[in-house]
């Protein structure tokens, strides 16, 4: 938790408890320590402290910030060991009971230390007020115009109104620049009604006419009162967003808040623009992890105070308190980004569902390619299954064609049919998107003379060649360095990049289609959110002909000018070891293919593969998500894999492999000793990528066809693990419902 210096209340002198008697007021505090417990403190000295507040406590020989959790009648601790609180931060309202319940659920369900969950789910520890206001824009009202001449000539308020008259609108920072006393003056003008918040002037985007599917889905959703989970399963371009917007409109009209969750920060600007255009007078706030603490604190304050009508955010927004919450919408529900895989391991989708149930509001999960977990719930009737089978407007689903690269050999990544397809689009002035899910120039830099390959010193992985700035980068730990001048093993200078990534594809396209306007979009090419938005706008305005991109581009974007999507190098994912690899590949190809032909012209998807006979491609060609999903579900049922089975993964990492293996072996014996029936404890194995960021890693998977049985094992097992002796430098983590095993 970040340091906070402002407004700490300190205990009243003379009220500290005496060591002999138990304290009168025992407070449990969640502290950001890797222990599955709350800590007891004596709150007698701070009569005003209440649960949900940030409190400062002594911990060992130092002090920590934590969150006051609840009162206790008695403690297991010797009264003499219960120490008094140091202080509390009352600059922010206490976090509400709903928030604490949500944190408790995450801590228990995912078996993560409650203090760490609380620290992650809490707002930034800074006061929101200043940040909140810097962004607000103001304008003078008619009453302000009328009143200004009657104010004294030197009045700051008069000066502000004059400045607003001249500029039309100003934000608070600009107003403060006019006078050192602008802050209080502004408050006064607002209170008098002489100045108002300048809300966007753009006319509200008019609602689209609903298709029959959309109307039916909306009608079903509007009938909800209280908790209900719905899966809005609509093909790409079928207008799921329009359904969300209509729902949100209802909530605004009813005076309730909406929580709109998206998987990636990259998706927020587009949706933000659309929501803002539709509801210009609503209070819309955005929350994601790349915002500054100040901006996030502002969004949090707006959410918690009830001021925000709509909160749009990535997974961490699922924790934001919303006192008037009316509904939760979670878009692209299948996306793995909803799963946090570092630190506190949780799934924002599943937490959102729990939250919707706990706060008794409806939740809508939207996707063109639902996760098999959600699909199974829909099939079983636990979720309402709403289908949007047709694209909105005139657009039709794109035709999917395969290029057999055994017949049409690819040179520099491109087969003849792909080249011809691109040429024909260029000739017609239409746009092409080339999709390759690998950034950089080449995934391997190797010496053809001796076979050396550039590897990461910290990971079991090759370094990726980035040709643009001549750097080698590890995509796992972030290590980087210059490209060596020559092979460090044999001295050959003609070392070469093998395989291809976005940069190399871009280079090839530039030499093959020198007349085409080319744009590459991946994490390296996008510098900040504004730049990203600008790039997307360039595509939409038709200022580029060829776009090379990674999955950044695959999701949710609407590019009416793209009529061809070319997929390069999809085969790598066909045989990945993860049992979800095919599910993900299918979803990804369907999503990226969904970018084609969203405008007036028909779209085409061209996939280069050496295995055109693979059933995944047949399903893709037929746009047969249901058929594909059914066959995957059958396979999973046969093997007892999720969603027909449930998994836990225990992982351990240490500077060397052996202690990690030893710990997991001990954990394995502990699991077996519990003798829970119907639970299979697999062998301890090193991870596929053993070494990452200088730590060697191993894992242990536990599986069951019954969730209750798995949970029967989970709690006592994890409790036992905290008692195991840990080798130096060893860390362990438990992953409940892991997305990658």
């Amino acid at each position: 938790m970040p340091q906070v210096t402002e407004s700490i209340n300190t205990p009243l002198p003379g009220l500290e408890s005496t060591a002999a008697n138990p304290p009168a007021r025992l407070l449990q505090v969640a502290l950001p320590r890797p222990l599955p417990a709350l800590f007891d403190y004596d709150a007698s000295g701070l009569p005003a402290v209440e649960p949900g507040q940030r409190v400062r406590v002594p911990f060992g020989r130092s002090e920590l910030w934590g969150i006051a959790w609840g009162w206790r009648d008695g403690s297991d601790l010797d009264p003499s060991r219960i120490r008094p609180l140091v202080g509390c931060d009352d600059s922010q309202p206490p976090l509400p009971g709903n928030w604490r319940a949500l944190v408790e659920f995450v801590a228990d369900y995912y078996q993560q230390p409650i203090g760490e969950v609380a620290a992650m789910a809490a707002p930034p520890a800074i006061s929101a007020t200043r940040a909140e206001r810097a962004h607000r824009r103001f304008r003078a009202t008619a009453a302000g115009h009328a009143a200004a001449p009657s104010l004294p000539a030197r009045d700051v308020g008069r000066k502000l109104i004059a400045a607003l008259d001249a500029a039309g609108e100003l934000n608070e920072a600009e107003l403060r620049a006019l006078s050192s006393r602008a802050g209080p003056a502004l408050e006064r003008l607002l209170a008098e009604g002489w100045v108002e918040l300048a809300l966007p002037q753009a006319p509200a985007e008019t609602a689209h006419t609903l298709t029959a599917d959309q109307a039916a889905a909306l009608e079903a959703l509007q009938a909800d009162s209280g908790f209900a989970a719905s899966l809005l399963h609509g093909v790409t371009g079928s207008g799921k967003t329009e359904v969300y917007l209509r729902l949100i409109e209802d909530q605004i009209a009813a005076g309730r808040q909406s929580l709109l969750l998206v998987p990636e920060i990259a998706l927020t600007p587009q949706l933000h623009a659309r929501v803002a255009a539709r509801f210009p007078r609503a209070s819309l706030h955005v929350m994601h992890s790349e915002m500054s603490d100040g901006a996030r604190a502002m969004a949090w304050a707006a959410a918690q105070s009830g001021e925000a009508d709509i909160l749009l955010g990535t997974r961490l927004a699922v924790f934001a308190p919303l006192p008037r919450l009316g509904c939760i919408v979670l878009d692209e529900e299948h996306d793995p980004s909803f799963r946090q895989t570092e630190g506190v391991r949780y799934s924002a989708r599943d937490v959102a569902i729990w939250r919707a149930r706990h706060e008794n509001v409806p939740i809508v999960l939207g996707s063109a390619t639902p996760s098999l977990e959600s699909l199974r719930h829909a099939i079983d009737g636990r979720y309402r299954w709403l289908r949007l089978n047709a694209r909105a407007g005139e657009a039709k689903l794109p035709e999917v064609h395969l290029v057999d690269t055994r017949v049409f050999r690819a040179t520099d990544g491109f087969s003849q049919p792909m080249v011809r397809a691109i040429e024909s689009r260029l000739a017609r002035g239409e746009q092409t998107l080339l999709f390759i899910n690998r950034r950089g120039y080449a995934p391997v830099l190797s010496c053809p003379a001796c076979g050396w390959a550039a590897g990461c010193t910290q990971c079991t992985a090759n370094l990726v060649l980035h040709a643009a700035d001549r750097r080698l980068r590890c995509h796992h730990c972030g290590a980087e360095g210059p490209v060596p001048h020559a092979c460090p093993k044999c001295g050959n200078q003609d070392i070469q990049g093998y395989g291809r990534g976005t940069q190399r594809l871009e280079e090839t396209l530039a030499s093959r289609f020198p007349q085409a306007r080319l744009l590459r979009i991946d994490r390296d090419s996008v510098r900040g959110r504004e730049h990203w938005q600008e790039q997307l706008d360039r595509i939409r305005r038709g200022e580029v002909d060829l776009v090379v991109g990674t999955q950044l581009l695959a999701k949710g974007h609407d590019f009416p000018g793209i009529t061809l999507v070319g997929v390069i190098g999809a085969d790598a994912s066909l045989h990945a070891a993860d049992f979800r690899a095919q599910e993900r590949l299918f979803a990804q190809l369907m999503q990226v293919g969904g970018r084609a032909g969203r405008g007036d012209s028909a779209g085409e998807v061209l996939i280069q593969t050496a295995q055109p006979e693979h059933p995944l491609f047949a399903a893709l060609k037929a746009h047969d998500f249901d058929g594909f999903a059914r066959s995957q579900l059958e396979e999973r049922a046969l093997l007892g894999l999720p969603p027909h089975g449930f998994q836990l993964m225990l992982s351990a990492d240490a500077p060397e492999l052996q202690p990690a293996l030893d710990f997991l072996e001990a954990a394995r014996r502990a699991a077996q000793a519990l003798q829970v029936e119907g639970v299979q404890v697999y062998d301890v194995v090193p991870m596929r990528m053993v070494r990452r960021a200088n730590r060697e890693r191993a894992q242990l998977v536990v599986e069951s066809r019954s969730r209750p049985q798995l949970r029967a094992l989970l709690r006592p097992w994890i409790a036992n693990l905290y008692r195991l002796r840990l080798a130096r430098g060893l860390r362990w983590h438990v992953d409940v419902d892991p997305v990658e095993v």
């Binding site: 003379a449 060649l465 040709a467 001549r470 001048h485 200078q493 003609d494």
Partner: protein, 111 residues
Amino acid sequence: MTEGQGATSPATNSFALSATLIERDALRQTPAGVPLLRGCLEHFSQQIENGAPREVRFETDFVLLGDLARLLAQAPLGTSLIAQGFMAARSAKSRQGVMHITSIEFVTSGS
């Protein structure tokens, strides 16, 4: 790189060739940005073998790095030159020799 196999007997790998440039790829750069040119040289000469003269004709692929690569990239096909360098395997997979040129002397035509 290493000068030879040991201090006492440096290994010899030295070729000199008068030749004609008959093929050349586009100039490219190594990943570190050093210009690199590949191509093919054709050699024709009279040599004495076992006491008797004979005609010799062969082609060899070459690799050329650095400023020399930039220079030769601008030379027209058919340019006559004397190249010096060493031989190395094409790659770890193919043991076939490729000439690595370390110096070039252009020969004016007619001589």
